[in-house]
């Protein structure tokens, strides 16, 4: 299918090119240098930081940085929770939407604060415009900015020369929002409005169809939220069916723009890293490792979707791609691309129903999330997640060159390994342990729509999505009951903060160390050998952990399908 691959190649080239440009810009932003937008933004930035006082600009150690992250996110959670509970009596609610229940509001608030954007609700029936805009859209910005700030701080830990300082959270977060997220979102929102996405505070439209029936067409301030949901790898749609909705993603152009936007900042982080550590090869190496995993997943999903369902072929004699649950206007290729992009990048928006993909495509999507969303991953989060694997890879294989393992001149010792192991535990805990509980208790089983291995895939997908802070779901999985909203909420918190805090602690520990200059005896962390090592580490440590569960889910479904049995 050469034409389908041509689209994919064009997509990759556009994303990498734009990300490369953005990385240079972000480098100037996060090192406090002037950029061409400074004239406009700099006064606003100074204003914001002046309000917060001198604590907003002082260089912080890791503990103080982490505390700032937690305080800020907790405040965001509390605010969002209150808005969701009180939306019935708050303004901008033309549809008279009722307040959310306590457990659902908890789930939703956690979901947006952690950049997961798991939606256990349906936007058009359960959220007022106020909740959408000041609640969700605001968190879309600041949760993304939090991820970016943490990643920049972690990188600073690898660069610092012994003073233990990793920057200031308030400054980093403000700059991420003002210089990066806002300008690009505005630009993209305008582009989307041009493509037909609504941006209005008016009530839903009551239309009379050609047959004379009456139809309510949900609309609202969608374009602004969609721009940031993609740019910030949030993924929470304005409408329930997300980017498969014709008003959320009207055209092929809007589809491509959104696909690029999802990976833009995550890819840029690789190059930003190379610039910040003053060795661009280091950035390229991590980009290459992520890229190899991304392309592999893309080729697999596209391959399985294009091949279609053999059982359908046997029954009907029809050959062709698997089109179940897909928008005809996007077709198999663009749906496969989106599925790979959105699960690799912890975005979670969908333009097709993942539940209806072929089992092995589902396996790839599950793995993308289970390895911790490190194939580019969420904005910032994917990058520091990959640095976790880098630390482990360097420690495991680094000894083989006969020195204490080091990365970028910083020795990886007991403290770093302990913290990395702690962070590493969160994925198996959130996915396997919570998933296992849900697979046996009645409250857990109640949500599962399908029988057999496909049902298990649904459970695994839900917890992989939550713990990976992705937010997409296998449709058909009813996650609205308190059992799931609560457990999923905990999984989201685990997948976010049980990684952020140890990673910041690692950065703090590394920042105390003086970097050793590279010699011929230094473990080389650029070049194909290291890329291979990193990819294998991700696959062996990340993927093997989930292999047994996956055997019972998508793999069992796949082999059963080949044997003529469906679920």
């Amino acid at each position: 299918m050469p034409s389908s691959y041509l689209v994919l190649i064009l997509y990759c080239a556009a994303t990498v090119g734009l990300a490369w440009l953005l990385a240079g810009y972000m480098h100037r932003v996060f090192t406090g240098r002037r950029v061409w937008l400074s004239t406009i933004i700099s006064p606003i930035e100074r204003g914001c930081l002046a309000v917060a006082g001198p604590a907003a600009t002082r260089a912080q150690g890791w503990a103080s940085y982490a505390m700032a992250v937690l305080v800020f996110n907790m405040a965001g959670f509390a605010f969002l929770y209150v808005v969701l509970r009180l939306q019935g009596i708050l303004p901008w609610n033309p549809e008279g939407i009722r307040p959310m229940s306590a457990d659902l509001a908890f789930n939703t608030a956690v979901s947006f604060v952690t950049n997961t954007n798991w939606q256990a609700y349906s936007g058009e029936v359960q959220l007022s415009y106020l909740a959408q805009m000041v609640g969700l859209t605001a968190q879309n910005f600041v949760s993304a900015a939090t991820g970016m700030a943490v990643a920049v701080a972690v990188i600073r830990g690898f660069v610092a020369t012994g003073d233990g300082r990793i920057g200031n959270f308030w400054t980093d977060m403000t700059r991420a929002v003002l210089y990066v997220l806002l300008p690009i979102s505005i630009l993209v929102a305008i582009l989307l409005i041009w493509q037909g996405v609504p941006q209005s505070l008016g009530a839903y439209i009551r239309a009379t169809t050609l047959e004379g029936a009456s139809q309510v067409i949900a609309q609202g301030p969608a374009a602004s939220q969609i721009a940031i949901k993609q740019l910030g790898t949030n993924g929470g749609g304005f409408f329930g069916v997300n980017s498969a909705h014709p008003l959320e993603n009207p055209t092929i152009l809007s589809n491509m723009v959104q696909s690029v936007l999802i990976l833009l900042i995550p890819v840029a982080f690789c190059f930003l890293f190379g610039r910040m550590v003053q060795d661009r090869r280091q950035g390229w190496a991590i980009f290459a490792a992520m890229g190899v995993l991304f392309i592999a997943g893309l080729v697999l999903i596209n391959g399985f979707e294009q091949a279609g369902n053999p059982m359908l072929t046997d029954l009907t004699g029809i050959t062709g791609p698997n089109m179940e649950g897909k928008e005809v206007r996007f077709g198999a290729t663009l749906s496969a691309l989106w599925a790979q992009v959105t699960t690799a990048a912890s975005n979670g928006s969908v333009n097709a129903m993942h539940d209806s993909f072929m089992p092995m495509s589902g396996l790839v999507m599950l793995l993308n999330m289970q390895i911790g969303e490190v194939i580019f991953g969420g904005v910032g989060a994917g990058f520091y997640g990959m640095l976790l694997y880098v630390v482990l890879a360097v420690f495991l294989a680094g000894l083989m060159v006969g020195r204490t393992p080091e990365y970028l001149g910083k020795k990886i010792e007991g403290r770093e390994v302990t913290l990395a192991v702690l962070a590493f535990l969160s994925m198996p805990l959130g996915i396997l342990v919570f998933g296992a509980i849900s697979a046996v208790v009645p409250a857990g089983l109640a949500a599962v729509q399908d029988a057999g291995p496909h049902g298990l895939s649904e459970i695994l997908y839900a917890y992989s999505s939550a713990t990976g802070n992705n937010g997409s779901a296998f449709a058909g999985f009813g996650a609205g009951a308190p059992f799931y909203t609560t457990l999923q909420g905990i999984a989201m918190l685990l997948g976010r903060y049980a990684i952020i805090i140890p990673m910041l602690a690692i950065a703090g520990s590394l920042a105390m160390k003086r970097p050793a200059p590279a010699t011929a005896g230094t473990f080389p962390t650029h070049g194909p050998l290291f890329v291979t090592l990193l990819v294998i580490t991700v696959l062996i440590l990340g993927a093997l952990t989930f292999f047994p569960a996956l055997v019972l889910g998508p793999i069992a479904e796949h082999v059963s399908m080949l044997g003529g049995q469906s679920f």
Binding site: G398, V401, G402, T404, E413, P515, A516, A520, I540, F546
Partner: protein, 679 residues
């Protein structure tokens, strides 16, 4: 000099004791120090109980459960055996050291200047710090001490294995003696410098025995990672049962236990401490005592080696390299005079002049006997001989001979002298009466092979810095000839210390060796400090390694041992984790094939049955530890190379090897299991 290395027992002779020790180490208190093996033992106990219960109840498949239990225990015992084997060598050495620590009666003096007759006899065990002791020929030196009076030869073979006695005297850098050595001539008055039970010998016994072997930082970090992986695999296995129940099947607990043990990194977990002990043992065999395991590890990380020129890079003495006659002097006349002036001089320098002079035809013609030899003195800075015919032959430094003769150098000789100095050599002038006959080019002779050694170190990323008291000109020339990367000329203890600090400020780890008291600050400052055993006790106290042979080139060997230790650890870790892939493919299809027959496609090895697959994986898991014991004790093969080369080689060998070997191994074991009808 003859050299008797201390007797080290072979592995086979230690095996029976190690096997007994492996059982002793089953005590929970010992096992818990190693989280991976402890987890294995707990699971083994659980499976044993269940297997026996099933056997008693006559449950089908109980035989396989009992076999699995047996192999799980085997894995634990093999790990214990490996550790015991490594410890056994150290213990044998400690025993031989302890034999020298017999209690004797010693003569204690009330004060350093008391007459020897004032000595009172006390037991050696009651000696205290600071007491003054008199020892005479034949005595065992009762404690670590400083010589405060006397000169004597001491036999240190008990500690160093070196049979030639060494001279110990008060003052200077040869003033410390070690308890347990024997004085073979004369007498010494000593001041005890070690508390009882804290002597060098005591510490050495503790070290080689492994009693004081705390885990090194890197070993601790690795242990944490292994414990973390064990916990993750515990999640994997424990959650598998609910997922299986959901899928309408159930997995026997024994099989889950087998999966757990095969997934956790038992190979490296079982061999980790053996690798560490064996590394220390390799150093001990090189006659280096490490005061901590940390120092050995740090040696692998060293970026800069500070090497003393004399003894390490060059032979201890300068040698005559050429004779350069003055204008109008024949080469044979100069040779004759040089020969005459040096005949009575039996320093290595003098001997080398004799040797080179004899090569000149006609040098030995008409030799006149020496009437009086003039020895070198610090005042005159020249030596020579007055012959029976009245000729005064002298040789000495340029200044000294010019002063002695009152003559001036002719232009060509002056140029030659200049040239010699510039090239790093030392010019000596030879005179006959008031006449200067020519110059002798004395030269530092670089030890053979050092240039290649330094090139090797450079490839490994280690910079060599030569430390010398020579002037910068001389130092530069020798440095260039020896191929070191840098040099410190006119070295003093202060600028040596400054150099170490400067390198450390750049993030470099520095190793050095030294012997004198004035080396102590630098030894303490260096990340790896090797003290010569012949050195002062201050130097030995400051260092973290002590070379019993007092051979400064040992520093390079120490670095290689450190690297080999780290590489062995990394290689086996990588191998162990890579093994998991094959184990998954052996066990998972076996567990789930009943629920989903289609999963038989995952049985890529084509293993006979579910039972045989699981049993084979467990057997492989135990046997691979046994198979790797020699590698752990010997250390992986290591040839100096750049990190990139080492990584590529080791990643291929142990990473790729670790992926492939278990596929082959498990398949072979499965065939045997089926053939023998074990499952």
């Amino acid at each position: 000099m003859s050299k008797s290395t201390l007797p080290l027992p072979s592995m086979t002779s230690l095996a029976p004791a190690a096997a007994r020790q492996a059982l002793v180490k089953l005590a929970p208190r010992t096992l818990i120090r190693n989280p991976v093996i402890f987890a294995t033992a707990v699971v083994a106990l659980m499976v044993t109980l269940m297997g026996l219960r099933d056997l008693a109840l006559g449950v089908p498949g109980a035989g396989v459960a009992v076999q699995i239990a047996a192999w799980l225990w085997a894995a634990v015992l093999i790990a214990n055996f490996a550790e015991s084997l490594a410890e056994g060598r150290g213990r044998a050495r400690a025993d031989s050291l302890r034999a020298t620590k017999s209690e004797t009666m010693v003569r204690v003096l009330p004060a350093a200047d008391s007459p020897h007759e004032a000595a009172t006899r006390v037991s050696s065990a009651s000696l205290k710090l600071g007491q003054i002791v008199l020892v005479q020929a034949g005595d065992i030196i009762p404690a670590d001490a400083e010589v405060i009076q006397g000169v004597a030869s001491v036999d240190e073979s008990a500690i160093t294995g070196e049979s030639a006695p060494v001279i110990r005297e008060s003052g200077g850098d040869f003033s410390s003696v070690t308890g347990g050595t024997r004085i073979v001539s004369d007498w010494l008055v000593l001041r005890v410098t070690a508390e009882p039970g804290r002597s060098f010998l005591d510490r050495m016994i503790a070290l080689v025995e492994g009693a004081e072997r705390g885990k090194t930082p890197n070993e601790i970090a690795l242990n944490i990672l292994l414990a973390g992986l064990t916990l993750i695999f515990l999640f994997v296995v424990v959650t598998l049962e609910p997922f299986a129940v959901y899928s309408g099947t159930s997995i026997p607990v024994v099989f889950l236990a087998a999966l757990f043990v095969t997934l956790i990194p038992t190979t490296i977990g079982g061999l980790l401490s053996a690798i560490g002990i064996a590394g220390m043992d390799r150093l001990a065999r090189a006659n280096v005592v490490a005061k901590s395991g940390r120092a050995v590890e740090a040696a692998g990380d060293v970026d800069v080696l500070l090497l003393d020129k004399t003894g390490t890079i060059t032979f201890g003495n300068r040698m005559a390299d050429a004779l350069i006659p003055a204008q109008g002097v024949s080469p044979s006349a100069l040779a004759r005079a040089a020969l005459g002036a040096s005949r009575a001089d039996d320093t290595p320098e003098g001997k080398s002049i004799v040797e080179i002079a004899r090569k000149q035809p006609g040098a030995a013609e008409g030799m006149v006997a020496v009437a009086e030899a003039i020895p070198f003195s610090a005042q005159t800075r020249l030596s020579g001989a007055d012959l029976t015919d009245g000729t005064q032959l002298r040789k000495g430094s340029v200044d000294a001979i010019l002063r002695h003769t009152g003559a001036a150098l002719d232009a060509s000789l002056a140029a030659s002298v200049d040239q010699i100095a510039r090239s790093g050599g030392t010019p000596l002038l030879v005179s006959e009466g008031p006449r200067i006959l020519g110059a002798v080019h004395l030269k530092d002779i670089i030890k053979p092979g050092v240039r290649e050694r330094f090139a090797e170190l450079r490839a490994m990323g280690i910079r060599t810095v030569m430390i010398t008291g020579d002037n910068p000109l001389t130092a530069a020339a020798i440095a260039a000839e020896a191929g070191v990367d840098d040099f410190l000329a006119e070295a003093t203890p202060e600028n040596k210390l400054d150099l170490i600090r400067a390198e450390q400020a750049k993030g470099q780890l520095v190793a050095m060796c030294g012997d004198g008291s004035n080396d102590a600050p630098a030894l303490a400052q260096a990340d790896v400090g090797v003290a010569m055993n012949s050195g002062t006790s201050a130097a030995k106290e400051a260092a973290n390694l002590i070379d019993l042979d007092s051979d400064p080139t040992k520093l390079i060997e120490v670095v290689l041992v450190g690297k080999q230790l780290l590489i062995s650890r990394g290689a086996l870790t990588t191998f162990s984790i890579a093994n998991d892939v094959a184990k998954y493919f052996a066990i998972l299809p076996a567990l789930f094939i009943a629920a989903y027959p289609g999963l038989s496609v995952l049985n890529v090895m084509g293993l006979g049955s579910a039972q045989s697959a699981i049993l084979s994986a467990v057997i492989f898991n135990a046997l691979v530890i046994l198979a790797l014991i020699p590698l752990a004790l010997r250390g992986v093969k290591y040839a100096p190379a750049s990190a990139a080369t080492l990584l590529r080689r080791n990643l291929t060998l142990y990473g790729l090897g670790g992926l492939i070997v278990p596929f082959v191994g498990i398949k072979a074991i499965d065939m045997a299991v089926i053939a023998l009808g074990l499952a």
